[in-house]
Symmetry: C2
Subunit: 338 residues, 2 copies
């Protein structure tokens, strides 16, 4: 893919130690791509020996002197840190020097800065955070994951458009099925906002499946599941908590005594394949959608493998015209309703 | 325990074939308890030969000619089916002939009939649905699970009281820790309702832990987790969906070929122990709390083992004075605030 990704190398729990090797691995796996590493030169340069030499011609450093703290208030980060690695990475997208930006930094600051620098697309009131999550049938795009805690029916409709365009651009799904997360499949279920959102989605021209319930997410009933940011954040974190509990129970049972430990060794290939099927690192990289540019947020604790997936997602979205697709779709919907 | 439980024998996917054997097993395991089987005599009597003979002196049949359908509108069931097994079971609680009622029938109808017949407790605006769910440290009580899709801060406070009294009465926890489900631990997170609920909970005299996130549920951070019914329902069903997906993936990996199938047989004792730790049947039985009587809802698809757990939970709550405890606590809180 012919795309340039700007990487905030200083963000996340591990900073350049993870982001730089991930960027190098990404370049080695994608011969047409380029990256701009943004951050403190003295932190980045020592990491560019060894395997990085092979891809040096597609790799560039852009110095940025400041770093946004993981706990820093978004407003402060936005106002006071104009030369932060996060800000400079997004500025590069704005200036057209990169097609996408990736950061493992502070989510609130990334959203605030992205929104301030890039602005939202026509017809989009608020950007949303969307992530692919594994399902029985593959994966689905789930949004909003926490950017918007109070959503109107119109916002949910816009999330539907953004989610559908994500599935269309990254997975090349022709007419992605969009589900509205509710507490029952029947149209009479849920609160007033959700009921009205269902009406709007039904009239939108999207491939609207109707209401889905929490268990439909993992059944893979639809390609996209839409909900407000409070509900989405709770559903995602609840899932993380449950997966961690189950995996720790499984470890405990196999670690109980010498015999069970032996069984674990024997069953290792099976357990490993199971684990890799639901490896959350493979799904790392949540898109900040609805902006005039592609911005992807990596998990703060991502390792190099996980961070590389986030870079890949950003590159895929940009090279498959995510932003343009959302713009076109919103314009088409606007024509229908006006 | 000295308690009489009224059982709606006709409800659920399997009706008397499950509910009657479950009631008999419950009586055999709890020598002081009594049950009243409510339903069509011709459906119940044939099931009372064999092991039921041993407990015949603590078992009584109360005929009811009608059955509430699983898809019947709650209002219709309430108005038109005065001799349904569900209605008669709840009437028995109202009349003081039973201390608790259990049903695997239509949730909406059970809530509507319970509310109409039993009424809510003083100071409680709306009953909630609460269930114990497994955590790393044991289990926690999670509510509301779908009875209330639009909750005020006051409702969330009342859920906190009800959840704490559930933990106190069933698990004998002295000062149960109550968590408020939110999208961040910081007090500034979340929507206005949740922020105000946190203030009310902090001033309530309950052992309020503060905000918890989705993953805290399974970490067992608190004994009680409170949220509105939309969020709770989504979180619970999302968990069910994820658990089902993971278990089907595990089955698929062990079923892949002859070798992996052999491994599954060898690892069976470990896998079985793992499965039993998270066996949702053990957690069957959601309490309809906030009513002037104990009502427990079993999963519609419960088998006899699962349904027996629901009967047990109802008996435990009644014999440990759940209703009285909530009443006392609400009165004490009322004194503080007025």
């Amino acid at each position: 893919m012919k795309v340039t990704v700007a990487i905030d190398c200083m963000g996340g729990d591990h900073g350049p130690a993870v982001t730089v090797p991930a960027a190098v691995a990404f370049l080695r796996h994608h011969p047409g791509a380029r990256v701009i590493l943004v951050g403190r030169s003295e932190a980045l340069e020592p990491l560019l020996s060894g395997p990085a030499q092979e891809v040096a011609d597609r790799l560039e450093i852009r110095a940025a002197t400041e770093v946004v703290g993981m706990d820093e208030a978004p407003a402060t980060a936005m106002r006071n840190k104009k030369d932060s690695s996060m800000r400079v990475a997004i500025d590069l997208v704005k200036e057209g020097r990169a097609e996408a930006a990736v950061s493992a930094g502070n989510t609130g600051a990334l959203m605030a800065i992205s929104r301030f620098v890039l602005k939202t697309l026509p017809g989009i009131d608020r950007p949303a955070i969307a992530s692919a999550i594994p399902t029985r049938k593959g994966h689905c795009y789930f949004l909003d994951l926490g950017a918007n805690v109070d959503c109107s029916a119109e916002h949910l409709l816009q999330f539907g458009v953004m989610g559908a365009m994500l599935a269309a651009s990254i997975d090349h799904v022709e007419r992605p099925r969009v589900g509205l997360l509710n507490i029952g499949e029947e149209a009479i279920k849920g609160n007033d906002t959700v009921k009205r959102a269902a009406e709007l989605l039904r009239a939108s021209g999207l491939n609207f499946h109707g209401n889905v319930e929490g268990d439909d997410i993992y059944k893979g009933t639809t390609d996209v599941v839409v909900c407000d940011g409070f509900v989405g954040n709770v559903a995602l974190k609840t899932s993380e908590g449950l997966a961690q509990m189950l995996s720790s129970f499984l470890r405990e049972e196999f670690g109980r005594n010498l015999l069970t430990k032996l069984l674990a060794v024997i069953a290792l290939p099976v357990l490993k394949r199971f684990k890799s099927r639901v490896d959350h690192r493979r799904y790392n990289g949540a898109a900040l959608v609805g902006l005039r540019g592609v911005v992807v947020k990596s998990h703060g604790s991502a390792d190099a493998f996980a961070f590389e997936q986030a870079i890949y997602r950003a590159a895929e979205a940009a090279s498959n015209r995510l932003v343009e697709r959302i713009t076109e779709r919103m314009a088409a919907m606007d024509e229908v309703t006006t």
